[in-house]
């Protein structure tokens, strides 16, 4: 708990300091609001740091610590999500989403091939159709569907 608060207070302080310095360049009163906020955040992070160092007993109970395997799985999910988001433009929505759903399901331990493939293709296809035909908002153009002339 102490380490968490110490680290986060330093990060918040540096973020606020950076925001304060950046805001100095704005004129016409545009700098007042962000600078005021930065000062409040710096004071709060300073108080948090002092509390962590001198009065750790006052830190309220936080969420329970994750074990190593949980941390690993969540990190995998985050990285996979970032990769998926990055692949939407080059691959298109349908291809990137189908690949993502199938890959994630296998990576998380599911082995029911039929359910995985049917859900991935059916669900993503239905979503694409919903946006394109019902909401009239086509999702990013698809590479594979484009090659197939769909």
């Amino acid at each position: 708990m102490v380490a968490k608060d110490t680290v986060s207070s330093v990060v918040v302080f540096l973020f606020s300091l950076g925001a304060f310095i950046l805001a100095q360049g704005y004129g016409g009163g545009a700098e007042l609001f962000p600078q005021g906020l930065a000062v409040i955040m710096m004071l709060a992070s300073g108080a948090m740091f002092l509390r962590a160092v001198f009065w750790p007993a006052a830190i309220p109970e936080g969420i329970p610590k994750m074990d190593r395997s949980e941390r690993g799985v969540i990190t995998l999910c985050v990285i996979a999500t970032i990769a998926y988001v990055a692949l939407i433009v080059p691959l298109g929505f349908v291809t990137a989403s189908v690949v993502f759903v199938i890959a994630m399901s296998y990576a998380l331990g599911m082995r029911n091939h039929l359910v995985i493939w049917l859900t991935a293709i059916g669900f993503v296809g239905a979503l694409y159709y919903l946006f394109a035909r019902v909401f009239h908002t086509p999702l990013p153009r698809d590479l594979v569907l484009g090659l197939l002339g769909i």
Binding site: A30, I40, V85, F135
Partner: protein, 506 residues
């Protein structure tokens, strides 16, 4: 006023709105039934889909999700002893023992009717209490509106987490995000770093979806094994619908818990309403000894209070523009997306929207009786069988598609992913998420009113202080901020006292 209220009811009676209410309620029950999902994630995912809809069907859909998820949380609580939503913890105390006695269907039916009673009374309180409050708030000038916003942000920062400092930092972070983009008054660009997409500011939907849907989706894997084991055991439970209650047996529990729930909704920050309502229902019951062992009244109280704060939490949101909960903050964002500025002027400028939304909350609460009762016990309970391993990527795909479609912008999807990671880090470091969203939603309005006030007074800060309503709001803000400090001091003293006793025993 009554003419407008009933005119709004007439406007709600279109096929599109009725379908939206039914779909929203069904969807809400399913989402509430999935542990780890619930109303906040459901509404965050649904908001981008409402872009292409008219305001009334959009709000009706969200009202259905809101009420539906309150009842959906009871399904795993009763069947699996696993609360689908935080409010359903108390439901497990009597709901699961009833299921073990072979009364699962009856218990789900009772939970649906109790939610319908609590939800509809809460929505009626919104219809009756909000207009007079809005009338008072309409008299506010820019300095008062500024303080109302500060009060709202302070309330959420101080009461929705368990750490005042972290709550304030989170709120300030949200206010910072709202400052990104073109300054409304001077026209200066702030924190855009030369990025064209940031000139109009950070998209509220992208931040909301990123922070409220991605971290819970990623965290689903933590509960995957537990849920899978529980879902496998569900097959052994025989769901038979039978009437296990009478109005004479539960009306006291409904009355007490509805009242507590409505008050709890109006006063944000209290997460213990269900515990208070349960204890009060036990106190007024003729059979308090049955509580915790499958009491009908205990289940009725727990479920009624869960739904009773849904609509009443929107009283400060709709009248003052100050949300008091995660869902209320999302609803505020949903109104902004539909082009309506939440606040007292909404009652004057668009009464059909605000009353229509209130009616949607009444109707969707009543829809829980057919949809949440018989249907839930036979059909919706099966959503618990969906494996988490499949659910997680599907949520992320829906979130990405929704965020993209909201403004046809891939940049917003990147923003959502970024704020998802930020949200996850904040949760890991024990920072609350809700103040960020509330800061983001109220930030521009607070800054605008602050600067207009200062222009009105030619830079004299006295205008923000020496006005009667400002003084009241400042005092309320100080009280709200000092309350957690007092509570922390009391906790510390109790802990110190406890340690003293232990060392004395040794």
């Amino acid at each position: 006023m009554f003419q407008e209220i009933f005119a709004a009811l007439y406007e709600m009676m279109t096929i599109g709105t009725i379908v939206a209410m039914i779909c929203g309620t069904c969807l809400g029950i399913c989402l509430g039934a999935l542990p780890g999902i619930g109303a906040t994630l459901g509404i965050a995912l649904a908001i981008p889909f409402t872009y292409g809809m008219g305001p009334l069907p959009a709000l009706a859909l969200l009202a259905g999700i809101h009420n539906g998820s309150s009842q959906g949380g009871a399904i795993p609580a009763i069947l699996l002893n696993m609360p689908g939503t935080p409010g359903a913890i108390v439901t497990t105390w009597d709901g699961h023992p009833l299921a073990q006695q072979g009364k699962a269907g009856g218990a789900i039916n009772l939970s649906a009717i109790s939610c319908a009673v609590g939800g509809s009374l809460s929505a009626l309180s919104l219809i009756l209490l909000a207009p007079p409050l809005a009338k008072v708030a309409l008299a506010f000038g820019p300095p008062e509106i500024f303080w109302v916003n500060v009060f709202g942000i302070a309330t959420v920062a101080a009461l929705l987490g368990n750490d005042l400092l972290k709550g304030f930092i989170a709120a300030c972070f949200g206010l910072f995000i709202s400052a990104v983009g073109l300054d409304n008054v001077s026209g200066h660009e702030r924190y855009t770093f030369g990025t064209l997409e940031l000139v109009n500011g950070v998209a509220t939907v992208a931040v909301m979806v990123g922070m409220f849907s991605l971290p819970p989706a990623w965290n689903l894997v933590r509960h995957a094994r537990k849920r899978q084991n529980a879902a496998e055991s569900m097959g052994k439970i025989r769901i038979v619908s039978e009437k296990i209650w009478t109005i004479a047996g539960v009306w006291r529990a409904w009355a007490v818990s509805s009242f507590i729930g409505i008050i709890n909704g109006i006063l944000p920050g209290s997460a213990i309403a269900s515990f208070i309502a349960y204890n009060e229902a036990k106190r007024v019951s003729k059979n308090p000894e049955k509580f915790g062992k499958g009491s009908i009244e205990g289940l009725a109280a727990a479920e009624c209070v869960n739904a009773a704060d849904n609509a009443s939490a929107l009283i400060p949101t709709l009248t003052l523009g100050v949300p008091g909960s995660n869902v209320a903050a999302l609803m505020l964002g949903a109104l902004l997306i539909q082009g309506f500025q939440p606040g007292p002027q909404l009652f004057r400028d668009a009464p059909e929207i605000v009353y229509g939304y209130s009616w949607a909350l009444v109707i969707t609460a009543l829809l829980l009786i057919p949809l949440g009762g018989a249907l839930a016990s036979r059909v919706f309970a099966n959503v618990l069988r969906i494996p988490t391993t499949l659910l997680l990527p599907l949520i992320i795909v829906i979130a990405s598609a929704g965020v993209f479609a909201s403004q046809n912008s891939m940049f917003d999807v990147y923003v959502a992913a970024f704020f998802g990671v930020v949200g996850l880090a904040m949760i890991r470091f024990d920072f609350p998420i809700a103040p960020v969203i509330i800061g983001l939603v109220l930030g521009a309005k607070a800054e605008f009113n602050l600067r207009v006030s200062l222009m009105m007074s030619a830079g004299d800060y006295g205008i923000l202080i020496f006005r009667p309503i400002c003084i009241i709001l400042i005092i309320l803000t100080i009280l709200i901020v000092t309350f957690p400090l007092y509570r922390a001091y009391q906790d510390w003293r109790n802990r110190k006292g406890g340690q003293g006793e232990v060392s004395a025993e040794h």
